[in-house]
Amino acid sequence: MSIFIDQSTRLIVQGITGRDGSFHAKQMMEYGTNVVAGVTPGKGGQTFEGSVPIFNTVEEAMKETGANSSVIYVPPAFASDAMFEAADAGISFIVCITEGVPVLDMTRVRPYVLDKGARLLGPNCPGLLSAGKSKVGIIPGHITQPGPVGLVSKSGTLTYEVVYKLKGAGIGTTTCVGIGGDPINGTSFIDCLAAFEADPETKAIVMLGEIGGTDEQDAAAYIKQHVTKPVVGFIAGQTAPPGRRMGHAGAIISGSAGTAEEKLQAFRDNGIAVAQRPLDVVGLIQEVL
């Protein structure tokens, strides 16, 4: 099994004719993702790559193709409305890749999507990949293989680094999920941990966090209470200075809160194996498998 996406995922690509959308739609199709429709307002009736129908609205795309998931590659100015639109159309799993969505917008989008009963992943995330089954987003397909590890991360390339190192040691993944590094997003570490705990094929979990906020501390407390599977944790930003945003909007130490040390301590206090370096994740996972 896997979490959130698998062979039954029927995907709409919002922004399929854009530069990023078209590139990644092809990559997803090559990986085996069932891309059933694209949406670009004004381009309804055309087809993408000769096979994928394009619609003007998500509602129409959903009605015509029976899609259940959607991925958004539109510029920040349109991303919030794209998330609202997907939720209004009744999409149950929405992934927003777009970086740079205003945080105030997310304070409205998040409760709206939740009220519709949908799950939102992102924004500003690499999406997710269920090895050998389906990928939604931008995670390169070749860097991992099917296996027993579930991975959840705030980062893109750091995730690639770690799953690639795991693959080098012959260890594959069930699902890799990038939740994104924005201060307010749709899916949390805890949502993913709960899903991995419930997934029988996931035998161990890797959690890659970073400085800023308390998501990692909250996740650590949740793990102690609810997760029986072994968890290996890493925190990026141990050398980051306070008060400076380290790329991700959420990666900022404010005052004494949100430091790497505080998070690592929460990991240790709650029985999570701490990797000092990305490389150490491999050894720690080998120990628990």
């Binding site: 920040p76 100015a77 740079g100 969505v101 205003p102 945080v103 105030l104 997310m106 304070t107 409205r108 998040r110 409760p111 709206y112 931008i138 995670i139 390169p140 860097i143 991360s153 705030k154 980062s155 893109g156 390339t157 750091l158 995730t159 690639y160 680094e161 690639y164 590094g181 201060p183 307010i184 890659l208 970073e210 400085i211 906020g213 308390t214 998501d215 890493f234 990026a236 930003g237 141990q238 050398t239 980051a240 200075p241 400076r244 945003r245 380290m246 790329g247 991700h248 909007a249 959420g250 990666a251 404010s254 005052g255 004494s256 790497a260 000092q276 370096r277 990305p278 490389l279």
Partner: protein
């Protein structure tokens, strides 16, 4: 993005908040003229993007125009936490009866704007929150419905008992909320909000932090940016669409992706070195970004070695290799470069680099160790 106090006050005044404005001076003579125009005692306040100006000596009271000139002369050019003071605000000195704190932040835990108000004003609110949380009233706002009048009234009653002051404060809170939303702020605070001996409620100091993600749709807020108060290398980086933060070490880092960039800095430290910067060249494949990154890093004389750490998922590593080759032809780079590339088109990248006299590594840990050793002058 940070804006200055005087700019924050202008945003508040535009909403109707009672705020004694004053004027900005860049020379002692201007300060004297402004003080003369305002009449009476004034406060001379350094306009820099750091907290703790008062403690650093950047805020002074002056009772005459001549004194304002002398105080301005002392503050202009002063170094406060690494930033040079280029401007001072000359504001009328107010008679203060009480000081309160009112502020609103985008709170990630509540996933909403959250008010914090306290009758203990003129202080570091984070410190009060940590040591004496009972002195602060917090309230989350549901952004779908906005800040409601009764909520503003309720918060005002936590600060004052006089009905006139409560009404005035409720109005100020609603004006502050509107300014917060319209400026795309992640924080907006008035500290202190004062009462005068005659009972008026006024804003004396204000601070706004702007969410960088808002700037594309708020050109009038972007226009408030003061590049003279930012690190020149960071200004250059922003213009080149790179995220760069200067640090104190000597190993310059060029990485794709924020998480990997932080992990790379950490690894430099792990192997006994000190990172000179955080630099994320982002996900797109554009050799020009690499050229700009190298230009920015080489402006830092402290850098003794440059480390590239690129995981090519979407980024094509051959583009990065081309960028390195182009940049080293354009700029005279005097320090050694260590290159680690893995992923998309890695064979082509290694070939391009080899043809131009560079060796590329594939392992992150080995590359970091080599860069640290080179920065220390330990290896060739």
């Amino acid at each position: 993005m940070n804006i200055h106090e005087y700019q924050a006050k202008e945003l508040l005044a535009a909403q109707g908040v009672p705020v004694p404005m004053g004027e900005v001076a860049t020379t002692p003579e201007q300060a004297e003229a402004i003080a003369r125009r305002l009449g009476g005692a004034v406060v001379v306040k350094a306009q820099v993007h750091v907290g703790g100006r008062g403690k650093a000596g950047g805020v002074k009271l002056a009772s005459t125009p001549e004194e304002a000139r002398d105080k301005a002369a002392a503050i202009l050019g002063m170094d406060i936490k690494g930033l040079t003071v280029e401007k001072v605000l000359i504001a009328p000195a107010e008679d203060i009866a009480t000081e309160a704190y009112v502020g609103i932040i985008l709170d990630r835990a509540s996933k909403a704007p959250v008010w914090m108000v306290s009758a203990a004003g003129g202080i570091d609110i984070e410190e009060v929150a940590a040591t004496d949380p009972d002195k602060i009233t917090k309230m989350a706002v549901d952004p779908r419905y906005g800040f409601l009048p009764h909520q503003a009234h309720l918060l005002a009653t936590k600060l004052y008992s006089d009905p006139k002051q409560v009404r005035a404060t409720a109005r100020i809170l609603q004006q502050l909320y509107k300014a917060f939303i319209e400026a795309g702020a992640s924080l907006a605070e008035i500290n202190p909000l004062i009462t005068t001996p005659s009972g008026e409620v006024k804003a004396i100091d204000a601070k706004f932090n702007i969410d960088d993600n808002e700037l594309f749709r708020l050109p009038e807020i972007e226009a408030l940016r003061d590049e003279s108060s930012e690190d020149p290398a960071e200004v250059l980086a922003r213009e080149a669409n790179l995220t760069f933060i200067k640090l104190d070490g000597d190993v310059g880092c060029v990485v794709n992706g924020a998480g990997l960039a932080m992990a790379t800095m950490d690894l430099v430290k792990y192997y006994g070195g000190e990172p000179a910067n955080f630099l994320d060249i982002g996900g797109s494949s554009n050799p020009e970004k690499v050229v700009n990154a190298l230009k920015i890093i080489t402006t830092d004389p402290q850098v003794k070695a440059i480390l590239f750490n690129i995981f090519g998922g979407i980024t094509r590593t051959d583009d990065v290799a081309n960028g390195i080759v182009t940049a080293t032809k354009m700029i005279d780079i005097k320090v050694p470069i260590v290159i680690r590339l893995t992923g998309t088109n890695e064979e082509i990248a290694v070939k391009i680099l080899a043809e131009n006299g560079f060796a590329a590594m594939t392992d992150m840990d080995e590359a970091v160790q080599k860069a640290v050793a080179l920065a220390k002058g330990e290896a060739q």
